[in-house]
């Protein structure tokens, strides 16, 4: 019994220590001084993290929008409320699905790649040699990736929503025959720019920070062996997914909890 408690205590201490390390890490990397060189590095990461994730995010968004419309229609039509389809599709996408699914896809596509890349740089002593040249790898390697992730994911989320709403339109209006005007009209009367789109974007920014932070930290902190890299990559995806889903509940409770 005492052993068990002691073990719990040790895990707690380990966890706190890791959190502390990760926070210092975040603080040191986020304050990279912007320079022409830094701008270029950031741009390269934007391409890698953002542009190359666009395809998977947009395609997923389209399918999710289409499925939402299809499912929503079959339920709403029983109540004669199929004209609320646009509202349903838009609200579920903007408030929940785009930020959350976007972040999960982002963790799988970009987060794991970031972890593996930084981990491999660590394993091949590139980070150490950078330090010996007198360059802080936190600024040179980590900071551009962190900022690129932070900017990319909200943009990807917007793309997800737009494509999803369009997908809902394709299925709902073009295929199932919901009236065009009520699809958009209901949507416009129920979606609020600040409360729905704004809060969705806030969620997305939080997720972007968390997912990218986890990814680069796992890469930087891993044990530089083949097994270490594969474990860290898995951890990135698992931790980010859990963090995104958990935070989503907290944020939703804070944002929409009192909306009745």
């Amino acid at each position: 019994m005492i052993g068990w408690v002691q073990q719990l205590g040790r895990h707690g201490c380990d966890l706190l220590e890791a959190l502390g390390r990760a926070s210092i890490f975040l603080g040191l990397s986020a304050v990279g001084v912007p320079s022409r060189e830094g701008w270029h590095l950031w741009l390269r990461q934007m391409h890698f993290v953002g542009v190359l994730s666009l395809a998977i995010v947009l395609v997923s968004g389209l399918f999710i929008g289409m499925v939402l419309a299809l499912q929503g229609y079959t339920i709403l039509v029983d109540f004669g409320a199929e004209q609320a389809l646009g509202q349903m599709v838009a609200l579920s996408l903007l408030r929940e699905l785009a930020p959350v699914v976007g972040a999960l896809l982002f963790a799988g596509r970009a987060g794991s790649a970031l972890t593996a890349e930084i981990g491999l740089m660590k394993a091949t002593e590139q980070l150490t040699s950078m330090e010996m040249i007198g360059i802080d790898p936190l600024r040179r390697v980590v900071a551009p990736r962190l900022w690129a992730g932070f900017v990319s994911l909200p943009l990807l989320t917007v793309g997800f929503s737009v494509v999803g709403i369009w997908g809902g339109y394709l299925v709902g209006v073009e295929w199932l025959g919901v009236f065009d005007g009520s699809y958009w009209g209901n949507m416009q009367s129920s979606v609020d720019f600040i409360a729905d789109i704004g809060n969705g974007m806030v969620k997305s920014l939080v997720f972007a920070l968390v997912v990218t932070w986890i990814a680069v930290f796992q890469g930087y902190d891993l044990i530089p062996t083949a097994e270490g890299i594969s474990r860290a990559t898995t951890r990135t995806v698992v931790y980010s997914s859990l963090a995104v889903l958990g935070l989503d509940f907290v944020l939703t409770a804070l944002m929409f909890g009192e909306l009745g």
Binding site: L120, M121, E125, Q126, T128, S129, E131, M132, I133, G134
Partner: protein, 270 residues
């Protein structure tokens, strides 16, 4: 140029987890000379270089580089000091996203405001020195191990450092590239008059270029001296290492219970 040693290590203690790696090491590395640090694998030679570079912090003792205590410097001052050092890593550690030219140009770009034309001159000069001017457009993945190490050497020299640390420069090289590297290290040292620390367990090659030799085993300095009068027979461990005897004070067998007891304990777990 003054005669005081460039690097001084005093009473160095360092442990990794439970195992002690250094138990009171004293070294003094003279200016403008090649100092070799030798010892069997696992004696923490690479760790010593990382301690000198300020990447690890000792448990006790201090390391002075040109009079500055490495581990009392602020992060900023440490990075400034590192610009005066070059380090050649075992794997080369070239940046995999940059080609050969950009790898060598990297320290120049981040530490100087030289115009592009001048960066080009310096890079080509350094690449010429290691004989790889023609390979400047290749990516690190296209280089052989020996070439990668030569590019890394060119990069380590880019800022004309006062001190170069070589981590196992001869490991895993075929005789030709080994000869090339030995020549390079010797020539660079003579031409530029810089201080070099070579960590290695390749005895013949190292002794052929070193001005002074330290032998480290069991976390302590076992012997030191110039290659000519290094008294290898004073200590059994040093003798075993230098002559490459398979068994001796450094045992062939990893510690275990007696072989017969072990093999006769049938039915036991493996």
């Amino acid at each position: 140029m003054n005669d005081s040693p460039f690097v001084v290590v005093e009473g160095l203690h360092f442990s990794h987890g439970e195992t002690d790696i250094f138990r009171g090491v004293d070294l003094s590395i003279p200016r403008g000379k090649i100092t070799a640090i030798m010892g069997p694998s696992g004696t923490g030679k690479t760790t010593l270089l990382k301690l000198i570079g300020g990447q690890l912090v000792p448990d006790a003792g201090r390391i002075l580089i040109d009079g500055q205590n490495v581990h009392e410097l602020s992060r900023r001052a440490l990075f400034r000091l590192r610009r005066r050092m070059g380090m050649l890593f075992q794997s080369g550690a070239l940046f995999s996203d940059l080609d050969v030219y950009e790898n060598v140009a990297f320290p120049l770009r981040v530490h100087t405001d030289l115009p592009d034309a001048m960066v080009r001159d310096v890079v080509l000069m350094k690449l010429q020195a290691v004989g790889l001017r023609g390979a400047r457009h290749l990516m690190p993945s296209e280089l052989s191990g020996g070439m990668a190490r030569r590019v890394a050497l060119a990069r380590a020299m880019a800022l004309d450092p006062e001190l170069i640390l070589y981590d196992e420069p001869f490991v895993g090289q075929d005789p030709i590239s080994m000869g090339v590297l030995v020549q390079l290290i010797k020539r660079i040292n003579e031409a530029l008059g810089l201080t070099a620390v070579v960590v290695s367990h390749d005895i013949k090659e190292t002794l052929s270029i070193a001005d002074y030799v330290y032998v480290i085993a069991d976390g302590q300095v076992m012997a030191h001296g110039t290659p000519e009068n290094l008294d290898v027979d004073l200590d059994a461990r040093v003798r075993q290492f230098v002559h490459g005897e398979p068994d001796g004070p450094v045992p062939f067998h990893y510690p275990a219970v007696d072989f017969f007891t072990d093999i006769l304990s049938a039915g036991a777990s493996r």
